[in-house]
Symmetry: C2
Subunit: 331 residues, 2 copies
């Protein structure tokens, strides 16, 4: 009998095909990926080609050049110039498309996925995220800052050079608002952060845990919506990503790199997205919300049922996915 | 300057890349699709191969055999046998995976897309939907019935023989519940159905309309989330799909077939999903909700930003998409 599990954090239901689930090793990518060069002359993100992008807004240099470089997205979804203006004409409600859309180039090397970087290099990327998140959050036009990464074609990448993006928008989505409200209701009813509660319970049960460190836990949720999707959640209660301190950032770098390495080695470099789900910066100190990093390998497609119902079908067993990744040895 | 438009029906925000939008003809599919035979010996949905599927639960026969055939999905996501049972152990909330998962084989011809059927043939499919929707809704275990179609690989099809599916689940999703509540709030605040209101305004404005008939309107919403996504909405207020009468079903068949034909001819047979968004059958007569059919061509990929924020980026102008499809001549 399949199970329909309830995701407490998102209030979504997911059908888990318990009996007909695929084995974890059936998700290993088949076929060779094209080998990439360390430098690609036409790539706008490769060192020496900086003139192919707008001037950087942030850069971390080392003795040989730069380690991480941030530039406005040349084909940005939002315009940096302009003021936030709302207009309403009947059903036509529209806000001017102002905001910040930046590309975070993670490494000078064209062919170096994050899974194979050094911990200190990932730490530099996270410090860059923090810098850009705070910069965007200080802009009075901005209501929601999303940091995300698309890795591979199924995940929507158009440029293969490793990079992340930040889109800071002048509206907050109803999805984000609903999750804040849901967490607030839980806090008022039970007197606890729902994320802290879920993390505690997952740690007690143990079957979903992929790896643990002093400050973070990477786990596959009991009601994971898609195969091998994971959360990396801070043990310390923090509503906003910007509350991360230096020791926690260093620890997260290692946890993130090792988690991605488990995917890279265990499933043969699958396409994936990750995103930082956080309260806005003004939520700093708020008791009921809790930020986390969400990793979504793109191993299956959303079809009409998911689009039409808001319900998911997970063709893997979350506890099996977690066990599989837990057993993949990484440095 | 891009625009960020608000979708009144789903409360989602969508960034419309007004200046850098692609022209409609840039979405025309490139490359030939594989030509299919009218009969495929190994296809479980082709006539003569009925023994390859479970026995039918519904069938419409004609003098030469059958026109539409419904069978339980052999690899169904839910189990028909069993009782609905909820169990809660801490954060582990789970309902037994009972329900109905059926395949609606739309035509005996392996290579006949719905866009090229006769109106009367599409009408038979819609009558079949109505029969199965009512059958599932009468089952006391069922809370939400989703009828949907996946056309093409990007839309999640695994079998190429034209078919739709129905999944009747023993839970209602929070997404569906939220939309019902949103519509109820609008009704209480403004004394009107929000869907009737949006339809009226779209008709007045006119730029989003793709085609109109006596009973239905096909249109691209002002705040359409993805390129060429359309709603087909009944003019008469009806909360539930099961309220459709015979004359309306015949009219919808023609509107649906012509709308799909516009996609087929205009964009060279793009992959798409459609789904019927409806209140549950017990909502029959309810004043604040309104069912519709939602068509989602799969022309772009959801990436980390959409997954991580709940906001969409539409790289087409909804009014241009509508104008393009309006101008495609079909029978």
């Amino acid at each position: 009998m399949p199970e329909i599990r309830h995701n407490l954090l998102t209030r979504e239901w997911v059908i888990i095909a318990t009996e007909r689930a695929k084995r974890p090793d059936q998700f290993v990518r088949k076929g060779e990926k094209k080998a990439l060069p360390a430098f690609e002359p036409k790539c706008p993100f490769c060192p020496g080609n900086e003139a192919m992008t707008p001037p950087e807004t942030y850069i971390v240099r080392d003795t040989n050049g730069w380690r991480v470089r941030v530039t406005p997205n040349k084909y940005g979804a939002l315009s940096y110039e302009g003021s936030r203006q709302l207009s309403i004409h009947g059903i036509r409600r529209v806000v001017t498309g102002v905001g910040i859309h930046e590309v975070i180039i993670e490494t000078p090397l064209h062919n170096m996925p994050m899974a194979l970087l050094k911990d200190t290099e990932v730490e530099t990327i996270l410090e860059t995220y923090l810098n850009r998140f705070k910069f965007a959050s200080m802009d009075p036009r901005i209501e929601q800052v999303t940091i995300f990464k698309n890795h591979g074609e199924s995940a929507g990448t158009s440029l293969e050079h490793p990079h992340s993006q930040m889109i800071a928008a002048p509206v907050i989505t109803s999805q984000s608002r609903d999750r804040l409200i849901n967490a607030l209701k839980h806090f008022d009813e039970f007197g606890e952060c729902i994320f802290c509660h879920v993390l505690d319970e997952e740690l007690k049960e143990g079957t979903g845990i992929v790896l643990e460190s002093e400050h973070f836990v990477a786990f596959v949720q009991y009601a994971a919506l898609t195969p091998f999707s994971m959360l990396i959640m801070p043990r310390r209660h923090m509503a906003c990503f910007a509350e991360l301190n230096d020791a926690e950032a260093a620890d997260l770098a290692r946890v993130l790199r090792r988690t991605l390495a488990k995917l890279y080695h265990g499933l043969a470099d699958p396409d994936f997205n990750y995103t930082i789900r956080t309260g806005p910066m003004e939520y700093t100190g708020v008791r009921y919300y809790h930020w986390y990093l969400s990793i979504i390998p793109r191993l299956t497609k959303m079809a009409g049922f998911e689009l039409g119902s808001g319900m998911f079908i997970n063709v893997s067993l979350p506890e099996d996915s977690a066990g599989f990744l837990r057993d993949i040895k990484v440095e």
